[in-house]
């Protein structure tokens, strides 16, 4: 069972940032969706994998409630953070926010390290963010754009973050994560 965590302040935005991820999971695995403010120990314990989804460009509410993501630090099971989800994973592990790194639309991404999610090489991906993060300690950079870090991975645990939105044009990345 995959736990899908919404970071959206606005319910309507879940149609855009959570539902497309759920559509990919459907037919591959069971899932449960939960809002970040309601994630319980039960939720994180009884799931096999966890995906933290992104949110709207103007939505920074999750940054004001970072303590709601304290569970992220202790996760040993596969975890994928998308956009806001990657920021949360990085910030929970000691990274800092990098401002003025806005990217909107199709963006050239260099995958600098092969992982189970994507081989090294260039790809085009849909980006939608104003903020980026530094690479936290114990993590390695797996992807970058001209402006910022686009992907991170924990050095020992199957914990990944991507800043772009693979649910739009790179669905295979999410499929690979589901198949881990």
């Amino acid at each position: 069972m995959i736990l899908v965590v919404s970071t959206c302040r606005n319910k309507l935005a879940e149609q855009e940032f959570v539902r497309p991820v759920v559509d990919i999971i459907q037919g591959m695995d069971d899932y449960r969706t939960v809002h970040y403010k309601k994630v319980s120990l039960h939720d994180t314990s009884f799931s096999d994998k966890i995906i933290i989804c992104g949110t709207q460009l103007k939505d920074n509410e999750y940054l004001e409630h970072l303590s709601r993501f304290d569970w992220v630090k202790n996760i040993n099971k596969p975890l994928l953070g998308i956009c806001a989800g990657m920021q949360v994973i990085a910030l929970q592990n000691g990274a800092r926010i990098v401002k003025e790194t806005a990217e909107i639309g199709m963006t050239d991404i260099m995958v600098v390290k092969s992982t189970a999610l994507a081989p090294a090489g260039n790809l085009q991906a849909y980006a939608l963010h104003n903020l980026s993060v530094t690479v936290p300690q114990d993590f390695v950079k797996i992807a970058e754009s001209k402006k910022c870090v686009q992907g991170i991975m924990h050095a020992e645990k199957p914990v990944y973050g991507v800043l772009f939105h693979p649910e739009a044009r790179n669905k295979q990345i999410i499929e690979h994560f589901i198949n881990l």
């Binding site: 606005n10 319910k11 309507l12 935005a13 149609q15 855009e16 539902r19 497309p20 559509d23 709207q56 460009l57 103007k58 939505d59 806005a102 909107i104 639309g105 199709m106 849909y126 939608l128 104003n130 649910e167 739009a168 044009r169």
Partner: protein, 224 residues
């Protein structure tokens, strides 16, 4: 949240509108009337029908004319959104973008510039799910233009019902056309739906057709 919905009168903007109405307060519809039939951003056939549609749903409508040239139409969109902010105090904008990165990213940029929330509730929906939701919500939708083989004049004015959906899915298998018309294979016009207080009855229309391209143009319509 107070929202304005970018409205073309077709099935996608109506479905986006109905989703927005379930969670938020829709204050107005916003339409760009493009003089360019090849507009990158805005659906054009029967765009004159949006006034009657807005009336049928009892929503205020903001319209803005645009020449429909690639980047100037974005300036016109920005003007229309600013007007919606001034008049209806909208805080966010809803689009019916499904798979077009071109449409979605431009809407995102303009909203970012105007400090507005941007919502794309149909984003990445599978075309057959779009059609299924249209049927389930009992929208009355007709095909108002076609522009791809093997669609021919028989399709002009055709109602999208269960049978039409099956036909479109078969054409997807055989010819690879998007059954939701996302590649511009066809455009639609909505005549009735869950948020319509009155149904639109077409009293007069013309059709034009040549080489797998054609339009069904409404020349007269009344509210029932």
């Amino acid at each position: 949240m107070r929202l304005g919905v970018l409205f073309s009168g077709g099935k996608d903007s109506c479905l986006a509108l109905s989703k927005a109405m379930q969670t938020d307060k829709v204050r107005c519809l916003i339409t760009l009337e493009s003089a360019n039939p090849e507009s990158y951003m805005f659906h054009t056939p029967n765009i004159h029908m949006v006034c009657l549609q807005a009336k049928a749903m009892d929503f205020p409508l903001i319209t803005m004319k645009t020449k429909g040239e690639k980047e100037s139409e974005l300036e016109d969109l920005k003007k229309a959104l600013s007007q919606a902010v001034d008049t209806w105090e909208i805080e966010g904008v809803v689009t019916g973008a499904i798979n077009s990165v071109y449409q979605a990213s431009r809407a995102q940029r303009i909203c970012d510039e105007l400090d507005l929330w941007c919502f794309n509730p149909l984003w990445q929906m599978k075309p057959d799910n779009v059609l299924q939701e249209i049927l389930e919500a009992q929208f009355e939708v007709i095909i108002s233009s076609i522009s791809a083989y093997p669609l021919d004049e028989k399709w002009l004015g055709k109602k999208i019902d269960k049978r039409t959906v099956e036909e479109l899915l078969t054409l997807q298998e055989k010819y690879g056309i998007s059954p939701a018309g996302e590649g511009g294979e066809f455009e639609t016009l909505v005549l009735n739906g869950p948020m319509f207080k009155k149904r639109i009855q077409i009293t007069q229309h013309t059709t034009s057709y040549n080489n797998n391209a054609g339009e069904y143009t409404v020349k007269g319509a009344v509210l029932e």
